[in-house]
Symmetry: C2
Subunit: 409 residues, 2 copies
């Protein structure tokens, strides 16, 4: 199940950036489960990783290798991603396997081991099936290509419980030149801010200095992947990588940065929303906008309290305009000296709550009409200040329970 | 559905304390939905209430009336509890209704209005059906009695989605004299620390000074009702009242206080656990013990992070020893400078995790055997200090979704 139409864009080529994938039989036969991304020399790469204290072995190695490359002003040359096994909770053996994966790809490609970043997603706590994984590398390398089909197959090759591949592409004009930004992502469960069971690879042909690339990644992730939640669970394996090949237009001055940031944010937000639309068991896509807060952190705290409430989520599933549950969730958010008499709650364009209770003009019919939609917007005004935040989430359905009670993810 | 056997004890009489209930038709006909508790003169009463900023009208009025009584060294004489309607999110009209309920009972009983404390539980945001509620008061008053049957009917009369009444009774010996502690509670959904959709009334014949009574209530609630969670949602209406009639043994010196506190804690914990056992859709009763923390707060934070994880809860439902999900939840808990290499996780007597990964001796069979039980104990050692905490929770089942998608609670 998923909310709305699937649409994997026809990705324009980003010169020098090639993707190859293969079926290595890591968990199941006949499943595309191994992806190699080749980054051209001279590119720059920024990365952000899970904040879960139990981070997976590939996260530790990818962070180290990325830091080592960046320290000598070089970029990683290869990313290798397997699905079907997260190589998490695997201790020392897991670290050895992550290193061995990098070493083998480095040997086949003729680069240094630290030029390869490993990524894994799938079941936690089982050893990586190294023979099958390493055995699949030659096929993935042989498939390396910069065309739209290679992007689409790479989008497929990183999925776990996702029901469809997720891609986004934007072209922005920088003066005379245009710059392309392509991205693919995966994620469906164990999704919450601070990077979830979520992998995203975004590439552009723009030419961007490393410090700017790092800050652009941080800023745009903060308002996209870090603003989604399905179940409040942060995974051990999350990563988002931003690759700038540097072969296209330079992004330097303030105006260029603003235009590029805007395009990058669109790609990041579209990918993040695609994850929520494909959330495990999702039947609704919910946008929670909290405004009139004293800080963005406060607005986020209220939005996530509502987004994580199982009672609110089951009400969305039931298309039940149960505003009492939303009100109760807002009321328990960690906000100091909260004057609930100033709070307003709107469901779509229907005012639900004001002056601490049900809005006078509210009718059950009007609320139910909004709730029946697949896409629902809830606006919460706190009446305290001028800051705001938006969070996207899904509902809690029978299918969510089925998927997570049946699937060993 | 509920976990384990139901057992409503035969409550001993607490002299002077009487309970009466009636079917007032507040939401449904033929349902016991109105309870009056009569407190004898000379008693002392302590109360603790929801910390939800949107607290319901009866909570506001009960708090005010209790404070007014306590200020003049008197105790409330009547508690009136209705189910079927929470009188929450009802603004000024809700406050008027709560006052009117107190006024009518005060008139019928011949006491001052502030001697009556009102409590409501049920659907949020609908006006109290005052005619039916007030119309039911004479029958509830006429039924006032101090016998075991009155306790049992009162236990029934406060339920909402609960599948069974919850009662606990303990008798402790204070030197030559024995003291009785009886309690009833309700709660099944919208359950989380800091008082949930939970009402509890505990009475004793002990003679206890007000400051001691207040602190005993706070201490024992902290380690019982504030250590349970079903869905992480704090309700707008929670309350726990502790009544000491003062007709029995005095509780003054250190040893007496220790004995009494111990008995009171047993009643509170038994009631709190009964709520989790009867949690909406529950098929498992899970005890989470976190030890070796630097503070109790840290231990609680880890325990609640695990207890609130939908992925962990669905794994319990599936009887799936998915230790990767427990490990991932521990890893995202808000703990500073967390060395996950020192963490141990045990499921029953089976070691799941040590040294940052799966314990060497662990087998899937051993884990599955523990997971198949209705009652499951998870012990998490943080390897950081000497503090600990215990939290009780339930699983997340299909029935949880059904109950909350179908029932307008």
């Amino acid at each position: 199940m998923a909310v709305g139409e699937s649409r994997f864009p026809v990705m324009p080529t980003i010169e020098g950036l090639r993707l190859g994938s293969a079926m290595a039989g890591i968990k199941k036969p006949d499943r595309r489960d191994l992806v190699v991304i080749e980054v051209p020399e001279g590119a720059r790469v920024a990365g952000t990783f899970t904040r879960n204290a139990f981070c997976a072995a590939p996260v530790i190695v990818a962070r180290e290798h990325l830091a080592a490359c960046t320290a000598r002003a070089a970029a990683p040359r290869y990313l290798v991603i397997n699905t079907g096994n997260a190589n998490a909770g695997t201790g020392e053996a897991g670290l050895r396997d992550a290193h061995a994966t990098c070493a083998e790809l480095a040997r086949l490609a003729g680069v240094a081991e630290e030029s390869v970043l490993p990524f894994s997603t799938g079941v936690i706590g089982e050893p990586l099936p190294m023979e099958r994984l390493l055995g699949g590398l030659p096929a993935a390398i042989a498939a390396l290509d910069d065309g739209a089909e290679a992007w689409r197959l790479a989008g497929e090759g990183i999925l776990t419980t996702d029901t469809r591949p997720k891609g986004a592409s934007v072209t922005v004009e920088l003066g005379e030149q245009s710059v392309t930004i392509n991205g693919i992502a995966k994620g469906s469960g164990m999704i919450q801010p601070n990077m979830a069971t979520m992998l995203a690879y975004v590439a552009t042909d723009a030419d961007i200095e490393q410090p700017l690339l790092d800050s652009l990644l941080g800023e745009t992730v903060e308002r996209s992947f870090n603003c989604i939640t399905v179940d409040g669970d942060t995974s051990t394996n999350d990563a988002c990588l931003l690759i700038a090949t540097g072969r296209g237009a330079r992004v330097v001055d303030e105006e260029q940065v603003a235009v590029f940031r805007n395009g990058l944010q669109r790609v990041m937000t579209e990918l993040a929303q695609a994850i929520v639309r494909d959330a495990e068991g999702a039947t609704k896509f919910v946008t929670l906008q909290v405004s009139e807060a004293t800080s963005r952190e406060e607005a986020l705290a209220v939005a996530f309290t509502v987004a994580h409430s199982p009672l609110v989520k089951t009400a969305f599933y039931a298309s039940d305009a149960n505003w009492g549950r939303i009100l109760a969730a807002v009321g328990r958010a960690p906000v100091a000296k909260f004057d609930v008499g100033r709070v307003t709650i709107d469901l779509g364009n229907v005012r639900l709550v004001e002056n601490g209770g049900r809005a006078p003009g509210y009718t059950e019919e009007a609320g139910s009409e909004v709730m029946a939609c697949e896409e629902i917007r809830v606006r919460i005004g706190l009446g305290r200040g001028g800051e705001s935040a938006t969070v996207w989430t899904s509902d809690l359905s029978h299918d969510y329970v089925s998927i997570n009670a049946d699937y060993r993810s």
